[in-house]
């Protein structure tokens, strides 16, 4: 064999064969099951890479999670999968299997930077069957009730002090069942409920403050201690960064959401942002119905830079968070 021919064989084996073999091996691997390297960086410099993943229903996806900068968290919205920490320099592995086709949202669960809330991605799960899938998603309540969640919702009446569900219950008044239904609770703001109750004959002898106590009692009847606890935990994990631990809209990230625009802070430039809502402001919160708050949380926006939580929280979690929000105005504890 001539030297030239030998050299050509070496070229083909090394320079062509090696890369081709790698591609073939890669394809074979992907047939056996999908392994995806999912890398996290702060949203300002890219967020999740890749941010869009496709998978097939019933087939495992092996995720190898890495971080290039700070500790991130990984969780899939509306799932019971516990959040995973993704530490820089370590590979965190997890395997997901989605039984149902649909579009799932994964997100960072650690406060990793000013735009942490935007560190999200999607997993689109398809089925082998050629029929197109349609998730049976019900319209959010605020749309069904025709509530404009972007409109101001000031309460035209507010209490003098913090209403107490315990004091309301202690009044021993039999509140009609219509006030105690879930439908009434979700569709009415506390201010509306107060006005309705104020007009009732059975509150004629009560002071305005006592009627507010009755409202707090009605509100408590629509939640549970466990829901309040869940809501408190979710609020601390997901909302307190902007709204503050005490709900006053003064979380550690609040300052970075408003103020003067300066170069490089894309969030500020993208939004002429309003400050995060202050839940300790009675005139604002007591004018909002649970359905309105539900809509705000699900959709986000409102000119505040608030992210949408619809794909993240389950319905139960959403109502738990809303229950917890009332504790910034009402004392929902005490004997009932």
């Amino acid at each position: 064999m001539s030297a030239e021919r030998t050299a050509r064989i070496i070229v083909i084996v090394l320079a062509v064969g090696l890369p081709v073999a790698a591609v073939i091996a890669g394809k074979a691997q992907s047939v056996a099951g999908q392994t995806i390297e999912l890398n996290g960086t702060m949203s300002e410099i890219g967020g999740w890479t890749p941010s869009d993943i496709t998978a097939k229903a019933g087939e495992p996806i092996r995720l190898r999670l890495t971080s290039d900068d700070v500790i991130h968290g990984f969780a899939v919205g509306q799932s019971s999968l516990p959040a995973l920490d993704v530490k820089p320099g370590e590979v965190t592995e997890t395997t997901l299997i989605f039984d149902e086709p649909g579009k799932y949202t994964f997100y960072c669960t650690r406060w990793c930077g000013p735009n942490h809330w935007r560190m999200r991605g999607t997993i689109e799960v398809t089925s082998d069957q050629s029929v197109s899938y349609q998730l049976a998603v019900e319209q959010p309540l605020y749309l069904r009730l025709g509530i404009d969640i972007d409109a101001p919702h000031p309460a035209d009446v507010i209490p003098g002090g913090a209403p107490s569900a315990g004091r309301g219950a202690a009044l021993g008044i039999a509140i009609p069942v219509e006030y105690l239904t879930t439908e009434f609770y979700r569709a009415h703001s506390p201010a509306d409920a107060w006005k309705r109750l104020r007009d009732e004959p059975f509150t004629q002898g009560l002071t305005d403050g006592q009627v507010w106590d009755l409202v707090a009692d009605v509100w408590r009847s629509n939640t549970t201690a466990q829901a309040l606890e869940t809501g408190k935990k979710l609020f601390a994990q997901n909302c307190a960064a902007c709204h503050g631990e005490n709900g006053a809209g003064d979380g550690v990230m609040a300052e970075s959401l408003t103020g003067e625009t300066h170069s490089g802070d894309t969030l500020r430039e993208r939004h002429d942002t309003k400050a995060p809502a202050d839940f300790t402001d009675a005139s604002s919160l007591l004018g909002a119905s649970p359905a309105l708050l539900h809509g705000k949380i699900v959709r986000g926006g409102m000119g505040t830079g608030m992210p949408y939580w619809g794909p993240i929280f389950t319905e139960e979690q959403l109502w738990s968070v809303i229950s917890y929000l009332w504790t910034f105005q009402f004392d929902l504890e005490g004997n009932g």
């Binding site: 030297a3 090394l14 790698a22 691997q29 890398n39 410099i45 320099g89 590979v91 300066h262």
Partner: protein, 457 residues
């Protein structure tokens, strides 16, 4: 003529046969080509995570470390002698992969005379540099850039003679050439007079043992490393064994007054300026600057790009021109401004090289640990070929990095000052030469302090 001690490495046992044989270089280049093609494939088909992708990790961390910390400072154009990018084009051009035989496919045109300079390389380097943060971090973009260079090299080989891509287009080839003037290795004729009398000039025309100089230089007249690709074809084709691979003192070419040109001078500014900008963008504390450099196409990026161009192509040269002019006033030098500016720019070669070494030390040692997982799982498919996929990221030599950087920068400053003094001494007596060199040294000191601040803080 500048004289300096030389030692012909080809006289060492086995070295000359190894250089004369086409096989060792061929095998190394084919392995490099396999790695190069694999980097493109991994970039396009592998994981999009830069720190896990073979393309990004091996090109921008492993190769860059090899190039800037070892190959360029010690071997000059050593990398060019095994670079895989021109290989496919050369094979087509030559009609063979190993040695001269048969006929190839090329129009064999000569490179246009007007374009015979480093200006295009300067432009291509700056163009790539403006997008560097994206190129360096996104495997797909890295792959496209590599593939583009490969395609450009092939097309150039099919139209023009020899390695026109390497000589006139390759953005890396320009700075490697400039900095190879500092390297302690050179390919030179032992007796230039013998070359002059050799009528066949097989080193330029080629013969059965090798190709005529692919870099379009006549080895017999070679004075500097800048455009010699160290491919040693001339060592193979010289029938008189008149080509040496010399070990020589560092920086020897910088002290040769001949052949100093404005395009090379600007290459020195571009490289020094780029090292400063990269240090600020990639290693500095300014997140907004990094975000601007990353957000290609945005207003912020346009501002960054304009600032980059203005700083590197205008501010730095103008500041240097002021320093040179001040030196001329102090010394009473009659050397023309342009010539003085061009000549003293060569003092920036050791400083620029030191700046790139110091900058590279920062990110190479910080990121070298990415090599092990990428070797085991080059496509990001979950493989563990070498059992190293679980090796955690950890910066190496964290204690030594600032020491090494300081040593490199201070060494570069000292060498630049000495070079400036020697260049001034070419035309001026001792005292005026000192006066002429002083502002240039002050410029170098200013740059060094700035870099020390950026890199070490």
């Amino acid at each position: 003529m500048v004289q300096y001690p030389r030692f012909d490495l080809a006289e060492l046992p086995l070295v000359k046969p190894a250089l004369r044989s086409r096989w060792p270089q061929f095998v190394v280049r084919v392995i490099a080509l396999a790695g190069f093609v694999f980097a493109i494939v991994a970039g396009l088909a592998g994981t999009p995570v830069g720190s896990r992708n073979f393309g990004v990790v091996f090109v921008w961390i492993a190769w860059w470390a090899l190039l800037m910390l070892i190959a360029v400072p010690l071997f000059g154009r050593g990398w060019c002698s095994i670079c895989p990018i021109p290989l496919p084009g050369e094979w087509l051009q030559n009609g063979a992969v190993l040695g001269p035989q048969g006929r190839g496919f090329t129009l064999g045109r000569r490179w246009p005379r007007r374009l015979r300079s480093m200006w295009i390389q300067n432009g291509v380097f700056v163009a790539v540099a403006l997008f560097s943060l994206v190129v360096l971090t996104q495997p797909g973009v890295t792959a496209l850039v590599l593939a583009l260079f490969l395609a450009l090299a092939i097309v150039t080989s099919l139209i023009f003679e020899r390695r026109a891509f390497c000589r006139y287009l390759c953005p890396a080839g320009g700075f490697i050439g400039l900095y190879s003037q500092f390297a302690p290795i050179e390919v030179r004729a032992k007796e230039p007079a013998l070359c002059a009398s050799h009528t066949e000039k097989t080193c330029y025309t080629g013969n059965a043992d090798g190709y005529g100089c692919p870099w379009q230089v006549f080895p017999g007249g070679l004075a500097k490393n800048t455009y010699c690709g160290a491919c040693v074809e001339c060592l193979r084709t010289c029938p008189h064994d008149n080509i040496a691979l010399n070990l020589r003192p560092f920086g020897a070419d910088l002290l040769k007054p001949g052949g100093r040109k404005l395009d090379e001078a600007f290459k020195a500014f571009i490289m020094l300026g780029s090292a400063i900008v990269y240090s600020a963008v990639m290693l500095g504390p300014w997140g907004e600057l990094k975000a601007a450099a990353y957000s290609v196409g945005s207003v912020e990026w346009l501002v960054y790009a304009a600032g980059f161009l203005a700083g590197v192509l205008v501010a730095l040269p103008v500041l240097f021109l002021v320093a040179v002019h001040l030196g001329r006033r102090l010394s009473g030098s009659k050397v023309k401004s342009k010539k003085a500016f061009t000549s003293f720019a060569y003092a920036l070669v050791p400083l620029g090289l030191a700046a790139w070494i110091a900058f590279s030390i920062s990110f190479v040692f910080a990121n070298l640990s990415y090599v092990w997982p990428a070797l085991s799982d080059p496509m990001g498919e979950g493989w563990n070929l070498l059992g190293t996929v679980g090796v955690a990221w950890a910066p190496y030599l964290t204690q030594a990095v600032p020491v090494l950087q300081t040593a490199a920068l201070l060494g570069g400053l000292a060498w630049a000052s000495m070079t400036a003094r020697r260049i001034a001494g070419e035309q001026l007596p001792k005292r005026p030469a000192l006066q002429q060199a002083l502002p240039v040294t002050a410029f170098c000191l200013l740059v060094t302090i700035g870099l020390l601040g950026l890199l070490i803080g």
